[in-house]
Point group: D2
Chain length 99, copies 4
């Protein structure tokens, strides 16, 4: 089952600057060969369900090892069985109609 | 790694009444022996990471088999390594201070 | 327009213990005469749109005044125009079918 | 108070294709002169709190008028008082460290 996911990892207890933790997560997602797109409030991910969630688990494990005692993550998770759809198609279907 | 999760599964393309799909997910979570608490905008879940996400995957598979062509789910996901914490403790720590 | 909301306020930069901030938000919601239900990963709120979002704004203002330099909040927000529905009805419609 | 928001509006009861509703919301956000960035699972918004939430309310009103009986929206909402930060800076602070 393919999934399109929006991932937002929020480390708690490490101060206000959290970009180094986000960077570590981005690297984990890339190493997992997942298609990703960073934005200002998270990262879009496209891939097979098991690969996506294995990578998200590694993100939590890594952010804890880096020193964050607590993490509060938000995941938006889309699956569909009527047809295949990519992240690019989702964005383009809106952009085309906007013009 | 233990996780406290808030799960909200939204079936799309099956009309406005979605409670039968939520019921199916509740049954899957119970069968997985996860501790759960239903509320008005989702379900709190407490358990081991792998058990929680295996159950969430079965929820998506089942809701699709029941006829939903598309699902948009929201997951809030908390882990901590400084100490153990249960769902009950989270609620009580607020309620005690409220009084 | 009536809304059913799930609110989860996460103060950042104040350490791992955040319950005092959640307590302050609970008090603001009560003072606003909104119907609320605390759970382990947020608070359900039922009320008129403007009253709900005015209270959420006061929560952010107050949590900042209490010392949190940064806040990352998650809001699930449901509205419907086909019929009225309360938080209690949402929970009961699932519980009845579960039995 | 300035806010950086991630908005994801999910119309329910109108079938699986929802891009026309997202297009309507994008237009409302532009007309409100808010800075926005569409992605594959929502739209980032930067602006003053009141302007942002007035626009989100218009999105719900409009999507209902367009025929959606029910809407389930997810909002991630960030505010900070330690310093100003734009959406562009958030993305760049991660991208710079990634290289």
């Amino acid at each position: 089952m393919k999934a399109i996911v929006d991932l937002c990892v929020v480390p708690i207890g490490v101060g206000v600057s959290v970009s180094e933790y986000i960077v570590a997560c981005e690297r984990i997602l890339k190493e997992a060969s997942l298609k990703t797109q960073l934005h200002a409030y998270g990262t879009n991910i496209e891939g097979e369900w098991d690969a996506v969630f294995a990578a998200i688990k590694r993100c939590h494990e890594t952010v804890h090892v880096m020193g964050a005692p607590r993490i509060s993550t938000v995941i938006k998770l889309g699956t569909r069985v009527d047809r295949e759809q990519t992240m690019d198609e989702k964005v383009r279907s809106v952009q085309v109609k906007l013009q």
